[in-house]
Amino acid sequence: MDLTFLSSMFQSILKGLPLTLNLWVLSLLGGGCLALLLNLMRQSRIGAAVAGSYVFLFRGTPLLIQIFMIYYGLAGFGFIRQSFLWPFLREPYWCGLLALILNDAAYTSEILRGGLRAVPKGAVEAGRVSGMSRVAILRRITLPLAIRQALPAYSNEIISMLKATALVSTITLMDMTGIARAAISETWRAVEILLCAAVIYLAISMLVTRASAWAEARLSPWQFGRTTP
């Protein structure tokens, strides 16, 4: 193994870390908000149908095809290039982020739905009896319970999104994978380069796993002392 090459490769791949982190965090935030919205929509029948079809479409197709549809597909329409959206859709960054947000929202909304379903009716009724408003019930009872319930599944989703950001390299973005791919077609030392990138992703995802185990333990004081799986 060529240590000089490896360390210089590490350094150049790490230059893509800010973009990877940026896309990761923003897509989780955007996707989370949209997921919440989708779940609120589910209260009306039409809203439920819309949310259902949305989830169906985005969970049933590969993220790569969603990215290409947004990046190359939408740009083929003249009216989109004329519209106010074009300044955003013109940039690969916004296209990539949009695809990641839309994709994450579909998965997160299902996770949240599972969490919401697990909220005991009695807890909500108790809130209503004590005179809490609907918003207060949502904020102080339903969401905290649902989020705690959804946490294990959501920590998986967080890691999935980290991995998903790697696909934006297909639309010219120079995230860590983008830099690695460019370096491969430059030097053809694929295995070393890929391993460098893999190690960085792995380190981040292990941090997330640790952090989420810690959060789960903290949010379940009644389970304190039990070993978390």
């Binding site: 169906f56 479409l57 969970r59 049933g60 197709t61 590969p62 993220l63 790569l64 095809i65 969603q66 290409f68 549809m69 190359y72 597909g73 939408l74 740009a75 083929g76 329409f77 890691i159 980290l162 991995k163 998903a164 950001t165 790697a166 696909l167 390299s169 994978t177 690695a180 791919r181 491969i184 694929a190 295995v191 890929l194 391993l195 990138a197 893999a198 992703y201 792995l202 981040i204 995802s205 292990m206 796993t209 799986p229």
Partner: protein, 238 residues
């Protein structure tokens, strides 16, 4: 917007090749899922029943595959896997060159990724089997194999089915990444069609529909299986 006739089945339509590419996606997904099932079972077993080193190996495998982007795993497999195959082949005294087809490479790469997810599901399902039933089996004198076949597997299967359904869906979507291996599946075929005709939206949309058909139909199959496996739990059944 493009000419919808491009998707037809005539001599100038891409319908037939897209249909074939869809079948290829299905075929490589099924093969990869089975690969992942074997690997996942082995790894789950290693994590539950293995000794120290075996367990560490199994845990390491799941941690790594869970944390590295699929596209990097597939690239690593493609670029590095051949070197490994060649090294093993040479060591065993076979003359080169060594080659694995795009289908096999794609199947193994996705199987490797899926194996990690499947092992998690299977391990969870195994742990959910009530210990009492295993003890009961032991008391009536069942051997380990019988115990697994008649007590553990049927119960674990029921718990595992929804999770395995999700794993299957992931496999289908991961198969969209294997075009680097040279396999002409749906994603690669729509890219070629989009590049040749310059009708990007039309063909990516067509690709999306193909994936939706596959995911929806197979989802129905899994639900049916789930329903059947739950028969015992609801008494009368259907």
């Amino acid at each position: 917007m493009g000419d919808i006739g491009l998707l037809g089945f005539g001599p100038d339509g891409w319908g037939l090749v897209l249909f074939r590419a869809g079948l290829m996606t299905l075929a490589v997904s099924v093969a990869a899922f089975l690969c992942g099932l074997m690997l996942g079972t082995l790894v789950a077993w290693g994590r539950v029943a293995g000794n120290g080193p075996v367990r560490a190996l199994a845990e390491g495998y799941t941690v790594v595959l869970r944390g590295v982007p699929d596209i990097l795993v597939i690239y690593l497999f493609y670029f590095g896997g051949r070197q490994v195959v060649a090294a093993i082949g040479t060591a065993l005294g076979f003359p080169g060159p060594f080659d694995i087809s795009g289908f096999v490479a794609g199947m193994l790469a996705i199987g490797l990724i899926s194996g990690a997810g499947q092992s998690e599901v299977l391990r969870g399902a195994y742990q959910a089997v009530p210990k009492g039933t295993i003890e009961a089996g032991r008391v009536v004198g069942m051997g380990r194999l019988t115990l697994f076949r008649r007590v553990i597997a049927p119960q674990a299967m029921t718990t595992a089915l929804p999770g395995m359904g999700n794993q299957w869906q992931s496999v289908i979507k991961e198969s969209a990444l294997v075009s680097v291996t040279g396999l002409v599946e749906t994603m690669r075929q729509v890219s070629v069609a989009a590049g040749t005709t310059q009708e990007h939206f039309l063909f990516y949309a067509a690709g999306a529909v193909i994936y939706l058909i596959i995911t929806t139909l197979s989802d129905q199959l899994f639900r049916l299986a789930e329903k059947r496996s739950l028969r015992g739990h609801h008494g009368a059944g259907f």
